[in-house]
């Protein structure tokens, strides 16, 4: 079918290096991948097009790029899935990382963050001659996260990295979880303490972009949520994030529904009174508009609160 690949191009060696879109019209089979199309462009239409690829089978993780606005592996994305009737497919380099040329990005910052989480086993005993053996059932929960091929697709579409490049990001946090949850690793507390710091696990906004775009089903955000749960269970020093989750859960336990003012007051507490006072202009404005809900004793629990509390107790007992 007749397809147009609209490729975002950039050449730093141009006298005035500015990104621009270039259209390539070509005939593609619906079963072709977007990578097949790009290779065809390079081989038949324009050999100056720069892209990175290797295995063509979603194993090497080299061909991450944005296709119609979402990051994906070009080799795993069929033309028919993004342009069922032909037409135009927009291809851009991955986001949240510097562009070297055309569709090739600099993965240096990505690897730097992976290194930050010390992605290697820290066991109790010295390294054995062969490998560290673990029973399969003790490792089964890590199968998904161990499928990560380090393609950078989750980092590309991370909404936090768009506004804060210091955030450690979904790939590094998923990799960190892989070792935190490894039964052979003994550095759990040290790892969690590091990840508990600003720019770590609590800065994720739970937007689920990483879950949606990951080509290998790693589910980075689910791993971040697991890290948060472990940090709270391990009684790591509290953060606004952990207090928010603890207080939220406690309010639901006692009222069934949310008491919003109380959530803010108890989350910030005296320790962060300044943060609470920061909210005042919005609170005063909301008060005048009749938008500040009842709180404390005036905020009544739902009528079936005993049912909710029994369920809380039952889950805790059975877990």
């Amino acid at each position: 079918m007749q397809t147009t690949l609209r490729v975002r191009r950039y050449n730093p060696d141009n006298p005035e290096p500015k990104p621009f879109f270039e259209d390539y019209h070509l005939e593609l089979d619906p079963s072709d991948s977007v990578l097949d199309g790009l290779i065809k462009v390079r081989e038949t239409l324009d050999d100056s097009l720069a892209l990175r690829c290797s295995c063509r089978g979603a194993i090497c993780g080299s061909c991450g790029m944005r296709i119609n606005g979402h990051a994906a592996l070009a080799c795993k994305t069929k033309v028919v899935s993004v342009a069922p009737l032909g037409g135009t497919i927009e291809v851009e380099p991955m986001n949240n990382m510097p562009v070297i040329k055309d569709l090739v990005t600099d993965m240096g910052p990505f690897w730097e963050k992976i290194r930050q989480v010390q992605p290697w086993l820290r066991p109790a005993e010295p390294a054995p001659v062969t490998e560290f053996v673990a029973p399969p059932e003790s490792m089964r929960h890590l199968e998904g996260v161990m499928s990560c091929i380090m393609c950078g697709v989750c980092v590309s579409d991370c909404t936090v990295l768009e506004v804060d490049k210091r955030f450690i990001g979904p790939a590094a946090l998923a990799k960190a979880y892989r070792f935190v949850a490894d039964p052979r690793d003994i550095a759990t507390s040290i790892r969690l303490e590091t990840l508990n710091q600003p720019t770590g696990m609590w800065d994720c906004t739970r937007c689920m972009e990483c879950i949606q775009v990951c080509p290998k089903g790693v589910g980075p955000m689910d791993r971040i949520m697991a890290l948060r749960s472990m940090a709270m269970a391990e009684k790591m020093p509290d953060t606004c994030g952990s207090r928010h989750a603890e207080v939220f859960t406690d309010i639901i336990k006692h009222k069934g529904i949310l008491d919003e003012p109380m959530l803010a007051i108890r989350t910030f507490g005296l320790k962060h009174i300044g943060r609470l006072l920061d909210m005042l202009p919005m609170v005063i404005q909301s008060l005048f508009k009749g938008k500040v809900p009842w709180s404390g004793p005036l905020h009544r629990p739902i009528s079936s609160i005993q049912h909710i509390q029994r369920l809380f107790k039952r889950v805790r007992t059975k877990s």
Binding site: T205, A245, P281, K289
Partner: protein, 294 residues
């Protein structure tokens, strides 16, 4: 069309205008709502950080109560929708897990069989009410109004749990509604991104940067207003917009409307009856474009 109505904490709390506006618009659309008054919060993804199974048990209780009535659940919050869809997906795709959850519900006299359908008001408008009924109720089409859609993450991702495979149009449902109401869709890259609300208490600077980015972006694309089906997005995009503008040394002033508020305007309803005077960013100038005032 009967629904078990799940209003969510925020429409009964900091966004009362959402509850008010949905109460105004639904009766003429052939919808009958029975409000669920004995159900708990979904957990909003926050309780799930502490204990996902606890969240699933609480939500399974809600699903079981709706199943008993024989009605689908109607939500008016992207976050409630997403959290419940994800819980329902886990429960209905893992029979052993459903059995484990049911064992905890049984002592409350409940069992969830896995048949409850959970639908956001946005989807109900297109899939159940239908375009014809909507058009028949449009006494004041929003001609000339330029509206930017803003979905909220939980009603966009993960698509597997949200039923996008069976309903591929859900991904563009807000744009479709804007078109039907006679307004012009202002497309901009941030429409499916994060509003920043979940990290407001954790990293306010990043949270406000998201507010500023999306509202400025929509405005630079020519939007008169932004419309959202998520009250949590509304709390940040409307409530924190002034502070976001200060953080970025600019002024934005983009009115953020709840979906039923926009719908009500197209149905010829008085803006005050839709609670528009409660929106922190005043919609006065956008209303003036439609010869309306507050």
């Amino acid at each position: 069309m009967n629904y078990a109505f799940f209003p969510g904490c925020v429409s009964k709390g900091a966004c009362p205008e959402l509850y008010q506006s949905v109460m105004q618009v639904y009766p003429t659309l052939g919808i009958n709502l029975e409000e669920m008054t004995t159900v708990s919060c979904t957990g909003a993804g926050v309780l799930q950080e502490k204990n996902e199974k606890l969240g699933d048990v609480l939500n399974a209780r809600t699903f079981a109560l709706a199943e008993k009535r024989g009605f689908p659940i109607m939500t008016i919050c992207s976050t409630c929708q997403g959290v419940m869809s994800q819980a329902n997906h886990r429960l209905t795709t893992q029979p052993e897990y459903l059995q484990e959850v049911n064992e905890m519900l049984q002592e409350e006299g409940l069992t969830y069989r896995g048949t409850t359908v959970i639908k956001h008001f946005l989807w109900i408008l297109l899939e159940d009410v239908g375009e014809d009924v909507l058009r028949a109720n449009m006494t004041k089409p929003l001609t000339g109004l330029r509206a930017a859609p803003f979905y909220g993450c939980y009603i966009q991702r993960p698509t597997e749990a949200l039923g996008f495979e069976e309903h591929p149009d859900r991904g563009k449902s807000l744009e479709r509604i804007i078109e039907i109401l006679g307004a012009e869709v202002v497309d901009f890259p941030g429409k499916t991104r994060c509003c920043g609300f979940p990290i407001l208490t954790i990293n306010k600077i990043n949270s406000l940067s998201m507010v500023a980015t999306h509202t400025q972006d929509a405005k630079s694309h020519g939007a008169d207003i932004m419309v959202t089906p998520c009250p949590l997005c509304h709390l940040n995009l409307d409530g924190m917009q002034s502070q976001a503008a200060s953080q970025h040394n600019t002024s934005i002033n983009l009115p953020i409307l709840h979906l039923p508020q926009l719908l009500g305007l197209a149905m010829g309803m008085d803006p005050k009856s839709l609670g528009l005077q409660r929106n922190l960013i005043s919609p006065t100038s956008a209303l003036a474009k439609m010869n309306l005032s507050l």
